[in-house]
Amino acid sequence: MKGRLVALSIPGIVTPGVLWAAESAKKVVDPVENWNHLWNEVLIDLFIMGTVFSVLAIHWLIKYKATSPDQVGRGPKLTRAQSWAWAMVPAFIFMADDFFLAAKGWTVWNIYRNVPDNAYEIKVTGNMWYWQFEYPNGVTTTYSYDTKEGDGLMVPVGTPVVLRMTSNDVIHSFGLPAYRVKEDVMPGRVTYIWFNPLEEKQTWVTCVEFCGVLHSQMYAPVKAVPRAKFDEWLQKKKSTT
């Protein structure tokens, strides 16, 4: 029993590598879709775990209500073997589940960490309390929560975007809920995230590492626009500065 469960968990460790190799052979990778898919699987997994325990608990809580004040419990006294079995069997089942989740998670994580070769690079700088974005041609943009003015982050639809991020003062964090990515932005270090804007839409980046008084005002729009419009905007920006 023990041996078989261990054996079962080995493919759980090996498969992600294979899966990932197959995954990266595909053309368009959408981290968001992968994330959502995994999230559903995790929810089902946890739901099953939770339900098994809850149903048992409810059942017993009702069934074993004392009928008289002097009644005492008759819980089973485990033999040595039973008590080992009740420890080892669940332990291996839980472990198998853990390795399953770890492997699944790591597969998707690799997608998140491997930036596609054709990614468009934008530099991000965190300041107390605003974001600054610098495009390859030197154009920079920001956004002010106060006046609600500024372009924020503009990205072209259909091209993966990689952000190289650093901070001028304290730790901030670049959180982009719509694209399921988030990474801290720190002084003295450069971190990165990438995402794939597949359709035209406007979302928000929020600073999600506590950074002081205006922490919750440190947000900016993220606009994904068609490539042509994006190039046009960038050109115009370049010529006006």
Binding site: A57, W86, A87, A178, K182, I193, G212, L214
Partner: protein
């Protein structure tokens, strides 16, 4: 023969070195911290109930007020309420009684601990007195905590004082359990609560000092100009986070373990049943947690750009915590099996806890997966996770403890009516408060945000959460009031109202006098604290 004391003597209380009275002092202090921090929680909920400024003055400075509430709420709830409530109050009062000891090994050190705890509470409360209160959150990350104009020193000293109290407590109780068990009491005859506090104290002993060193460096950086966390001068920005979580993750088990220990006592006594698979729960579950808890802290730094090799290791070890916790779950749930359950108030809290624990614990699993956290970290999903397991589950465990041992501490029975009413308000209220936070968390509601004008779609959820918080506040108010009223004018309790088989009920008075036991306790080899036949 009777060791009843004669009336109330303030001097004897303040200067006491008796573990029971020190336990009561801990309880009073931690409930006070809970009440003040709970009121801050209400302010937070009211503030978030509408998009723009609600309680705060205006957008430009409002953050300051909100951040101070949130700082106090987080720091006081964890460091001032739960840890002292569980390892201070409950362990102090009941651990020596359960092992048949007259007191702890070092009664004066014990008194020293409780006053250090009060000094820590004073430092924390100074937040509301000074003009530049600490605004660094309970995590206190530099460089912000070094650069802020807020008073980070108060944060540091609060941690120092409470931490020193914990370390001394740990030494004291570990020595007590090793040397002062009643003659004949073997390791497998200890109460689950005793084991759970022993393991919690082992964690405190090893990890608190690291936190102390981390905040000390913070103090030096801010006020003496050193460069521990300053990357421009050769320091490391993430060093503090690593040291902080090296302690603060294990700290969650300092809360979880005694909370589970209490539930074991309550469930076993209410179901008049023996513990299901005692040895697996103690040696696999509790010691398993101690073993793994120090190797998982990176799961709080997933979004801080850690290298992959350490990330994958700690992801696996974090997930593996579900194995020892799972063994404890099986053993706790199994204790209901073929029991004879009586539904007292404490058992209602305990039953509620079983579900709160599943919700809170299982939602830790996605957080433990690196890739899930890239989205979920720093959102209210995390809030909902830890409020379920800590803010509710562990808090309910403290309440269960107070109800369960109320007759022991006061000699009176706690009022049923108000107690039950309070329970239902609490139980419904917490779910109404924190369920919505799961939902908006997955949709990206950021943490520590009083202003979420970019996400107006979340407003209704925050309104529901406010409603829940009000229910909880009513329930908590009733509960605390109930204790005060019952302690003063409650009905006299029988000697062993729940018919427990554990030493603190069978062998000493309500409340026990000086020296606890009227005759020496000697343990027979076949005795266990859960022997109901």
């Amino acid at each position: 023969m009777s060791t009843e004391s004669h009336g109330f003597n303030l001097r004897e209380w303040i200067f006491t070195t008796d573990h029971k009275r020190i336990g009561v002092l801990y309880l009073i202090g931690s409930i006070a911290a809970f009440s003040v921090a709970g009121i801050q929680a209400l302010m937070i909920r009211i503030e978030q109930s509408s998009l723009g400024p609600t309680l705060v003055h205006d957008v430009a400075t409002g953050g300051n007020q909100y951040n101070v509430w949130l700082y106090f709420h987080g720091a006081a709830m964890i460091l001032g309420f739960l840890i002292p409530g569980l390892t201070g109050f409950a362990a102090n009062y009941f651990l020596p009684l359960m092992i048949g000891a007259k007191d702890v090994a070092f009664p004066r050190v014990n008194a020293f601990s409780v006053w250090l705890f009060y000094a820590g509470i004073v430092m924390a409360l100074l937040t509301f007195v000074v003009g530049d209160p600490p605004d660094v959150m309970w995590t206190g990350y530099p460089p912000y905590s070094v650069l802020t104009s807020g008073n980070t020193a108060f944060y540091v000293f609060t941690v120092h004082l409470l931490g020193f109290a914990s370390i001394l407590g740990a030494v004291n109780f570990l020595v007590t359990v090793i040397y002062m068990r009643a003659p004949g009491m073997g390791w497998n005859q200890l109460n689950m609560f005793v084991w759970s506090t022993v393991t919690a104290f082992v964690i405190q002993l090893v990890f608190v000092p690291v936190l102390a060193s981390a905040v000390t460096m913070l103090l030096f950086d801010k006020y003496l100009g050193t460069h521990f966390f300053d990357p421009a001068n050769g320091g490391d920005v993430l060093l503090y986070q690593n040291l902080f979580w090296f302690y603060s993750h294990p700290a969650v088990y300092v809360i979880l373990l005694p909370a589970l220990g209490i539930l074991y006592e309550v469930v076993a006594t209410s179901a008049k049943n023996m513990i299901f698979n005692y040895k697996a729960a103690v040696y696999g579950g509790m010691w398993g947690i101690v073993l793994i808890s120090g190797e998982v802290w990176i799961h709080h730094l997933y979004i801080a750009g850690m290298p992959n090799w350490i990330r994958i290791g700690m992801m696996v070890s974090t997930l593996l915590i579900s194995v020892p916790v799972g063994l404890l779950t099986i053993s706790l749930f199994g204790t209901l099996f073929r029991g004879a359950i009586t539904y007292t108030i404490q058992m209602k809290y305990a039953a509620a806890c079983l579900f709160l624990f599943l919700i809170g614990g299982l939602t830790g699993i996605p957080l433990a997966m690196t890739v899930m956290t890239t989205h979920l970290s720093e959102t209210s999903f995390v809030h909902a996770h830890f409020h379920y397991i800590m803010g509710i589950f562990s808090t309910f465990a403290v309440f269960a403890a107070v109800y369960y041992w109320f007759p022991k501490m006061t000699g009176k029975l706690a009022g049923e009516k108000l107690g039950n009413l309070g329970f239902w308000f609490n139980f419904i209220g917490v779910n109404v408060t924190f369920m919505p936070l799961f939902i908006i968390g997955v949709q990206g509601m950021p943490r520590r945000y009083w202003n979420y004008e970019m996400f107006p779609q979340f407003e209704p959820f925050h309104k529901v959460a406010l409603l829940g918080a009000i229910l909880v506040a009513i329930g908590m108010g009733m509960t605390i009031l109930n204790w005060v009223i019952s302690a003063i004018s409650g009905e006299k309790s029988p000697a062993n109202p729940w018919k427990s088989a554990s030493l603190e009920w069978t062998d000493c008075a309500n409340p026990p006098g000086p020296g606890n036991f009227t005759k020496d306790v000697v343990i027979k080899p076949e005795w266990t604290p859960y022997n109901y036949v």
